[in-house]
Symmetry: none
Subunit: 419 residues, 2 copies
């Protein structure tokens, strides 16, 4: 069975000029993948008749489904409908149900229907209108040489409603699509190249209908297994088997399966094990606390944080010894250990985590250049300190420090504490 391919064409200048980010296409790609339709290309073009025609010709060569968004507004700079009318050698004809929908919208708004909006109810004869219950621009479904062309408005909530209610179900019915299943395995603390070395033999042994993708993110490399086949149950089992094989190759580097963030994974561990946590932050300046508290329900395990940017605050609120700061400096193993151990005691939590470093761009010295960072973890049983060396931008140094700290927590947490 052949894979069904789609292409997305977005029409309008806002995306090209960077005035808006194209989130529509990502949403469409995800939804199409769920019904086994692969997006082969996304093309963003301006409201120009010849450019639209060129894009349609190109897409028609490759794809079975061509989905268009945008250019359906009532004003003269919106050309999509006229271009499609010519492209499919059609005439415009009043579509009464669409006119009724448009009139209803104006009535609801208490405004009089304008001629411009009335014109939106005139549609190419050969198209099957796609109802738009949220806006004044109806969609259009065309079929030609076994290919399907659908034109929708660019307004996200209008497009999404039309896709969900009408276009996706009709596409699934119209095309016999293969079952496609994705499995995401989230890793952290291992470089893509090293990961690739570790996985090479297993990857080469994958059956042809299961593919592996490396998706590097700030947190780490997300691995995505994509399988396609006729039988969802069998495919699911095959993928599970491969995920298990993979897991045994890199057990320590996997923090989650599926779309779970590192802070979420750490939060779940803390909650399940009944542990509480507090942070003492210098260079991360509260960002680690923010990461932890960005998760709903984090108040169950996160008690608080002391952001000690000045040495005074480190001594006064965190009880770091003046001698420690004098002898080793604020950015040192000794200081960060005291910070982690003391914040744990002060806030009466199971775990204390601390960061101290030079985020930059200023503040670096010969022996402690920008990017010199110490982090520590303390849980009463043990205290683990770790030195990091980054030299990225200030914000990235902060971001990476928080991520490495979260990973240190994940790897160091005690099984449970019984009191």
């Amino acid at each position: 069975m052949l894979a069904v391919n789609a292409e997305i064409i977005t029409i309008g200048d806002e995306i090209l000029y960077g005035q808006i980010v194209d989130t529509n296409s990502a949403w469409m790609g995800t939804e199409l993948a769920k019904i086994g339709i692969k997006v082969k290309q996304i093309t963003s073009i301006s409201d120009s008749a010849e450019h639209i025609v060129a894009a349609l010709d190109e897409a028609g060569k490759r794809a079975d489904i061509i989905l268009m968004t945008g250019g359906l507004g009532p004003t003269k700079d919106d050309l999509t409908k006229d271009v499609l009318t010519d492209y499919f050698h059609n005439m415009l004809k009043l579509h009464e149900p669409s006119l009724a929908d448009i009139a209803a919208i104006f009535e609801k708004r208490g405004i009089e229907l304008t001629e411009l909006n009335r014109q939106q109810a005139f549609l190419p004869e050969s198209c099957t209108p796609v109802r738009n219950v949220l806006g004044t621009a109806p969609g259009m479904w065309f079929e030609q040489n076994g290919k399907v062309y659908v034109s929708m408005p660019g307004v996200p909530f209008e497009m999404k409603r039309m896709m969900t209610d009408i276009v996706l179900p009709n596409l699934k019915a119209h095309f016999k699509t293969p079952e496609i299943i994705h499995k995401v395995i989230q890793t952290t603390g291992i470089a893509e190249s090293i990961l690739a070395d570790r996985l090479e033999d297993w990857e080469l042994a994958l059956p042809p209908h299961i593919k592996l993708a490396y998706l590097p993110h700030l947190t780490g490399v997300r691995l995505r297994l994509t399988g396609s086949g006729d039988n969802a149950t069998i495919l699911e089992q095959e993928l599970q088997t491969e995920v298990e094989k993979l897991s045994q190759l890199i057990p320590n580097y996997i923090f989650a399966y599926g779309e779970v963030s590192l802070e979420e994974a750490v939060g779940d561990m803390l909650k399940e094990r009944g542990l509480t946590i507090a942070t003492a932050e210098s260079c991360t300046g509260g960002y680690l606390a923010h990461k932890l508290t960005s998760i709903a329900g984090s108040s169950a395990y996160f008690m608080g944080s002391i952001v000690a940017y000045s040495n005074e605050v480190k001594m006064q609120l965190l009880g770091v010894k003046p001698e420690t700061l004098q002898q080793h400096g604020a950015v040192s193993e000794a200081t960060v250990r005291e910070m982690a151990e003391n914040v744990r005691r002060k806030l009466n939590t199971t775990i204390g985590v601390a960061t101290s470093g030079i985020a930059g761009p200023d503040g670096g010295t010969e022996e402690k250049p920008v990017g010199t960072i110490w982090i520590a973890y303390a849980d009463g049983e043990k205290t683990i300190a770790k030195q990091l060396n980054y030299n990225k931008t200030r914000l990235l140094n902060i971001e990476f420090t928080a991520l490495v700290a979260l990973n240190l927590i994940r790897q160091s947490l005690p099984a449970t504490v019984d009191e």
Copy 2:
């Protein structure tokens, strides 16, 4: 003088499958527009050699500049470099400076350089390498038939750094583009529609070669004046005059001119006036401290923060009275006032700022629904408390609370303190 056109080609399945949203292209479109280069098409394709070649052929027909991102990773699913090597009839050759950069990154990480990463230093002979100081994949600049082709990594911070430092300046030098000057006026605390009313008459009186754009962001509405002409000096003067007229129409809502963030603007005020600040955070969970410390040099005015997520911490570390919490609850004017006043005293700063609210999605009640938030500002002379009501997502509630708090600081700061 002819307009210079660019096309962007993003390579990789993540965007097509909707796993990530393509924010790179929007950023590039904006930056290119600033130097008078118009993006004509954005094309997202998968890691397939023939598809990449087809996209290059198509783009080459229309554009003067073809910018590619993605597909430069060290693993075998990354094809861009090999495809370009063939496309420009090249051979791969070791580029020593790139190898040095890559080796340096691995040395800093304390990991041994792998063969896969070493391979990344082999580049097509005819390309001018574009240095990547933040990652292991160098960029490549090709010229053919008067057109420029640039390939960059898809990792946003690597691509942005290469564009800003090398690609944009070189494109500006290589192509004769019209003088284009942008003036950004940053507003906060005023709705776009109200702003439009206030500015209407002035906007209508703008000369035809000066255009105004409303760019709504989380912080507020960014206003961008764009002028184009042949004489930069005259254009600069014309724009300055218009900016001054504009400023007089909405003085209280402008927090900065140019690409300055609200936290940066507040930081500058604190530094200039010799003031220091500390935060006491409940619902923002350290995010306000993070915003303030995201600015280089913030240690000059930011002393620290007490993130008090639990009531115990509010009482113990911030000295909030038990009665206050009992009578009014943690989310109340009384509590947030004590938090702001006490953190100021505890950390011995000029200013104390506090937040307490229900970020959601859980924790809401009948009389205090999710999105009920109190913030307070204290500087010894006065304490100002303010209630906010949002009902957005957890992260947006946190984000908006921090932004409104920053704006409250901006509006309330004393001129100077002489001790």
